[in-house]
């Protein structure tokens, strides 16, 4: 069963096409990552799925409804640009966000107190938002996103601006919600987060979905990578090295040949390579992303190395 289904979503802003025929299918209970560089159309896609804006064309079904606002009490949303009323107390801010989604304000305050205590902010419930640190305020907003116990969570760049410790906490919170059966759709331009958390991803580039499927499936599009270091610098063993192998320091790096590791090893040994180290690595999502979306998109994401 699908929690979110979008077919051919298009969004034009005047002459600019921000989203160009995006189709998504998010299974219920999954963690789904929307991956792509800034400006790829991730946020616009999420805003259409949430009903903040209407698509120029295409259809969307969110929790079985074609008008997402009708499902609002069952949805939580953490926008990319965080927003809270600075003068509000933390517990009131959380309760207010719950009230927007239909949770009675008194119940919201009760749950807010419990959630704040659970996350180490028990003493901050009656402090104004402006007195909290940025990380604390972000946590408050996140708690406000889940206060009404939604079935579906949309998180737009949830890790942006968080330090490593808070990123870890957020990852744990996402996993916990997923274990509780909540469907989570989050956008990110950080491949490592998607790799660690997601079962399914969609890669968006220039407003189009260029890949949609399981993370394993994305990785399996690439052959394993071989990293080889030899004692011999020359010899017949070199015929076993593919032509497109590259040198990284003293290592040869190349895709594992079609025949697999055994013929490669035999050729190296028989050819007198003198194997010092040989590692066969499974390609990461980053490599898959580069392969699927292209180097330009990867460079645009500004993170050649995963975080």
């Amino acid at each position: 069963m699908l929690a979110v289904e979008a077919v051919d979503l298009v969004k034009d802003f005047n002459e600019t096409r921000a989203v160009d025929g995006v189709s998504l299918a998010v299974p219920t209970g999954s963690i789904f990552g929307l991956l792509g560089p800034n400006g790829a159309g991730k946020t616009t896609t999420l805003r259409m799925l949430l009903g903040i804006i209407d698509p120029s064309s295409g259809t969307r079904l969110v929790l079985g409804r074609d008008r997402p606002l009708e499902a609002a009490p069952e949805i939580g949303y953490l926008p990319e640009e965080r927003g809270l009323y600075p003068a509000m107390h933390a517990r009131d801010a959380i309760a207010f966000m719950g009230a927007l989604r239909g949770l009675p304000i008194a119940e919201g305050r009760r749950r807010a107190d419990a959630l704040l205590a659970e996350h180490g902010l028990g003493d901050w419930g009656r402090k104004s938002i402006r007195s909290l640190s940025k990380g604390m305020a972000q946590l408050v907003q996140l708690l406000g996103t889940i206060i009404h116990k939604p079935r579906l969570l949309f998180l737009d760049e949830p890790f942006a601006g968080l330090d490593a410790i808070n990123q870890g906490r957020l990852e744990e919170l996402i996993r916990r919600e997923a274990r509780a059966g909540v469907t989570i759709v989050f956008s990110t331009h950080v491949i490592a987060h998607a790799e660690r958390l997601c079962e399914e991803i969609a890669i968006i580039a220039k407003g189009k979905v260029v890949f949609d499927g399981r993370v394993d499936e994305a990785r399996s599009r690439l052959r394993p990578i071989v990293r080889l270091r030899t004692r011999a610098s020359d010899g017949p063993w070199q015929s076993a090295i593919p032509d497109n192998a590259r040198r990284e320091g003293s290592e040869y790096v190349f895709e594992l040949p079609e025949g697999g590791p055994e013929p490669l090893l035999k050729a190296l040994i028989d050819g007198g390579a003198g194997i010092e180290t040989l590692a066969i690595e499974r390609p990461g999502l980053h490599d898959a992303f580069v392969s699927i979306a292209g180097n330009a998109a990867a460079a645009q994401m500004g993170q050649a190395a995963p975080q």
Binding site: I52, Y77, A87
Partner: protein, 399 residues
């Protein structure tokens, strides 16, 4: 529908507490002191009221010959001092029931009679609401002396009977009530307009708008914001009315009981006053919320404030045509035009006792509030949230 109302209440509760519990609300409560000073300068706008007060009409019950002698005497005085300040005289033939005729004339509005002069030139009797108008009595003594010139009669021959009110004073007082109530309504709405203009700046600047727009219909947010401000304003209104009544009680001899009674009576007038204040606020508020929603910074709001204020002054001027001229085409147009309708109809309530036009007007105004809110919400979605509707706006349900 219940969810819509609940959503609007969530926004209204947040905005109401944020407004009323802020330090700035004290300044809001003190606000009327400044426009009151401004308003006193403004008094010249309602020239109709002054006109009503300037030219009192005296009904003269006398035989034709005696009335003509009085008119001739008035003519001689006009030559000496000009027509402006003198009372107008309207002649009536004596009827058998003189007392009944006097009462009827004092109650008539065509023309609004300040006093009735009867008897003969030698033994004149004056009945009218003259306690606050000694000038009319003095002028009549002068006219009588002039009419009797050469007969040796003295001014002390005029027998004066004071009554509480005559049609002339009632029309004048009601016109005054109409004008004061209009000015009050205008000034209160003027104070609120800038606040309403900037209502959405907070959400837009701190990005809460994104969370709200994802959770509830934009219409509900508009309604919630508007009603929160209305509730805060009514709170202010109660404070101001109470303070005003207390001031009148302390300063004016006889207290609030001596205030001129509006045509529909005080209870109905106060109820209508609150309703028209609400309608006036909602009409202007909905329009200003729609305009202000397009602004993204406080500076843009400030830029918008001046034309908005000028617009309000123009509409107030239009609505003030109702004072002293209820049946005129302008007055009817002002009562129909949505933005001037509440002020015009409140002035009508002060001057005319009929209730049914108010029922029609309130329904009419309510319709326009709903329409402006609807258009405002759609415009907000389209221009601010960048969501172009796929269907015509009048068919669009919330996504």
């Amino acid at each position: 529908m219940m969810r819509f109302i609940r959503s609007a209440l969530v926004i209204a509760r947040r905005d109401f507490t944020a407004t009323v519990l802020s330090k700035a609300f004290i300044f809001f409560l003190l606000g009327p002191l400044f426009p009151l000073l401004f308003g006193s300068v403004f008094a010249g706008i309602g020239t109709n009221v002054a006109e009503q007060a300037k030219r009192p009409v005296v009904a003269v019950i006398a035989p034709k010959a005696e009335f003509e002698r009085l008119q001739a005497a008035r003519g001689r005085l006009v030559e000496a001092v000009g027509d402006g300040p003198l009372v107008d005289l309207v002649g009536y033939r004596p009827e058998p029931d003189l007392g009944g005729q006097q009462k009827r004339l004092l109650a008539t509005r065509q023309p609004p009679v300040r006093a009735v002069l009867s008897g003969t030139l030698d033994h004149p009797k004056l009945v009218g609401a003259l306690a606050a108008d000694p000038g009319t009595e003095s002028q009549l003594k002068l006219l009588l002396n002039e009419a009797r010139a050469g007969e040796g009669a003295s001014s002390s021959d005029l027998e004066v009977t004071n009554v509480a009110a005559s049609s002339g004073t009632i029309v004048r007082d009601r016109a005054l009530t109409a004008q004061i109530s209009q000015v009050a309504l205008f000034l209160l709405t003027l104070m609120l307009s800038t606040m309403v203009l900037s209502q959405l700046i907070e959400e837009k600047s701190n990005k809460v708008i994104e969370i709200i727009a994802a959770a509830i219909p934009i219409d509900a947010m508009f309604v919630g914001k508007l009603f929160a401000m209305l509730a805060a304003s009514v709170l202010g209104l109660v404070v101001w009315i109470s303070a005003g009544a207390l001031l009148v009680q302390l300063v004016k001899h006889g207290g609030v009981a001596t205030l001129p009674v509006p045509a529909v009576g005080w209870p109905a007038f106060l109820v209508l006053g609150v309703i028209y204040f609400g309608m006036n606020y909602l009409l202007f508020g909905a329009a200003f919320l729609m305009i202000g929603a397009q602004a993204s910074t406080a500076r843009e709001v400030q830029t918008m404030s001046m034309p908005v204020t000028f617009g309000q002054v123009l509409i107030f001027g239009f609505a003030s045509t109702v004072v002293g001229a209820l049946g005129s085409a302008k007055a009817i147009a002002a009562s129909i035009f949505p933005l001037s309708s509440p002020m015009a109809m409140l002035a009508r309530a002060a001057q005319d006792g009929a209730i049914w036009p108010h029922v029609v007007a309130i329904l009419w105004q309510g319709l326009w509030v709903a329409l402006i809110l609807r258009v405002g919400a759609q415009l907000f979605r389209k221009t601010v949230l960048k969501s172009g509707p796929r269907r015509p706006w009048w068919k669009l349900r919330n996504a």
